[in-house]
Symmetry: C2
Subunit: 391 residues, 2 copies
């Protein structure tokens, strides 16, 4: 396969090994530049500047990196994205903020196939705030649609919570349409972009999204447990507050005054001391996505998933494997899920052979295709290994 | 001054420069071994093991590192400490858990000199849970005492929140006595150990503490924004839950089932994906404190603070400087605060000369003395610089 982005693969650690890595959608490979970046940071910036680093760069890093993620990956204008906490903690803050912003409304709409943490947080927030979860049942072959959301929302809906790319099937939701449906009911909408940021172009401002959140360790290659990011549309920034009132979100963190007053802008969604070391790798990857361009990244992503689907049809269908992801690229994110009743055992055997996808119940092998670090040859070898195991 | 621990100073980045660093109590210096640790982690563990790293080591790292921090620094038996989030987020989780565990009680007791984030979180939790804050007024020359707490607690008290070492004055609270007073009133107690962990020996189990929290970037040298730790006494682990229900605290994170059920043990206080990279430097420093022994670390800490106070008396008192920290070592943590009406300007001028303390209103210069990375000679040069500026 022709691959105009092939050369970028050399920028990643371990891309020259025989490993077939199909799990960049769970944990992206590190960039080579990141290894030295972290060592140099310890010696020069942390060790050399010490506490002065806060004034010089670190204090604003969650905002400056947030702006970069917003510009390069999210279609978000400046001042609306900040890096902080984990996806789970940010989901909690956003859901609490949204519920408080829609007083009197009694329901949160969420689909049963949404990522567990989204559902667990929604369940907890609903319980503590006296709301009810209204579950949307999703047909896994079609995913969450605007029609399903339209059937669920009403004048009772405070918030709709949805994933842009479904973690199991890679179904790519119609963000503008679902956002519109939520707004038509007077509800707010919160998008989980964990499986899209850095892989699928996102247009938060254009779609009129209220709130969004995403991690940075998948397609933004921030490393295990790197901090998450949160987006709050500018129109909400004055009025929305979150419940974890920490010094870093106060109007002047170093004033250390008697009472908490949320600072202006997106910084109010920060609580404690930002995870500076955890942001360094993210910044490296966002710079690379910027260099390549998110549309070119998406084009390769589509190429890789189409190739994987074609190979699955050619080589695996006869062994009982079905493609559980959408066949239309417009409805598909960056991974492809292959179903087989025996897939749990197949995945375990693949790991033994240095072919590393992940497994999601029931019977799903996820072929995660991180566009800049995955080669077409890797897809060939990986699918061939699945075929050999099933044969 | 004789210093049996002098040789350990060479283990830290930048200890061989002329910089006088009096802010290890805000951000500790990195260990030299940490620089290579982070680079090697990127290349070998993250880059080499990729997603497999979760099963192999990272998933348990918050617990294994928590146990080590507990054993080496906190006097806490295994299974009660976990590394997660930030101090602020963990304070929120703990206060919410404590309030839920004392239904019908209507007050949180906290002193006005407690660190801002502790007060801000308490204010937010009290408001959202319908409780009242009962403020303890502290005499800054004496700090928070068991008597003051005894006057404040009652059958209305759900929780007492206190700092073991006061961030301004370094007042070392009597943890066992205050814990007893809280318990006598039927209340729970939450200790903030940010300014003690790694410097002052802490005996959480022995003192019968219920809950504790601390950061890792001060005396545990974890780097800017490294994750925090939380302690929940074993007797509370079955019954206490926290409100941020994430997949990593679920009974089986990878089952991805329909509902959240908190897992057994301290892991239920985790919400999202743990910050693995942020824990590596902490592990290095905890290993060093273990090698030296926390009592030897404390002995040097006492030596350094006594030296700083003696020099302040000899050289600075005549210029109007007063010692705002307790003169008795038993009542003093790891730093010494010096007061002068002009201290804000003095601190700014010191920074120009590569003498780096920090400043806390009103008029306080904090001489932070990280025991293993600070030399007596550094104290001599730093105090001499203050004298020159005031003369």
């Amino acid at each position: 396969m022709e691959d105009p982005l092939e050369a970028y693969r050399d920028r990643f650690v371990g891309a020259d090994t025989d490993l077939v890595y199909f799990d960049g959608n769970s944990l992206g490979r590190p960039l080579k530049v990141t290894a030295d970046r972290l060592r140099d940071f310890v010696v020069e910036e942390w060790g050399g500047r010490l506490i002065r680093g806060w004034d010089e760069r670190w204090f604003d890093l969650p905002l400056t990196l947030g702006d970069e993620i917003g510009r390069v990956c999210l279609g978000a204008g400046p001042g609306q994205v900040v890096v902080a906490d984990s996806t789970t903690v940010l989901l909690y803050k956003l859901m609490r903020a949204a519920v408080a912003a829609r007083p009197g409304r009694t329901e949160i709409v969420i689909d049963r196939d949404n990522f567990p943490t989204d559902r667990y947080v929604a369940d907890g927030v609903a319980r503590e705030c006296g709301l009810t979860l209204r579950w949307v049942e999703v047909d896994r072959s079609a995913g969450l649609t605007a029609e399903l959301v339209a059937d669920a929302v009403s004048e009772r809906t405070a918030l709709v919570v949805a994933s842009h790319v479904a973690y199991r099937s890679a179904w790519l939701a119609d963000m503008p349409a679902i956002t519109r449906v939520a707004h038509d009911a007077g509800a707010l909408v919160l998008w989980d972009e964990c499986h899209s940021a850095g892989s699928v172009p996102v247009r938060l401002d254009e779609a009129g999204v209220d709130l969004a959140v995403g991690c940075t360790y998948k397609y933004l290659n921030g490393g295990p447990g790197s901090p998450a990011w949160v987006y709050v549309a500018e129109r909400h920034l004055d009025s929305m507050t979150q419940p974890i009132q920490g010094w870093m979100g106060n109007v002047d963190p170093f004033l250390m005054g008697p009472t908490y007053t949320p600072t202006a802008g997106i910084r109010r969604f920060i609580s404690g001391t930002p995870a500076v070391v955890g942001m360094l790798a993210v910044a490296d990857m966002v710079a690379l996505v910027d260099e390549v361009g998110i549309d070119a990244v998406r084009a390769k992503s589509v190429g890789l998933t189409e190739h994987a689907i074609a190979l699955a049809d050619e080589q695996l269908a006869e062994h009982g494997v079905t493609v559980a992801s959408p066949r239309s690229a417009e409805q598909r994110g960056g991974h492809v899920t292959l179903h087989h009743p025996d897939m749990a055992r197949v995945v375990a055997a693949l790991w033994e052979r240095d072919v590393i996808p992940d497994y999601r119940d029931p019977g799903g092998l996820r072929v995660g295709l991180s566009p800049l670090s995955t080669s077409y040859d890797e897809v060939d070898r990986g699918i061939a290994a699945v075929r050999e195991l099933l044969a």
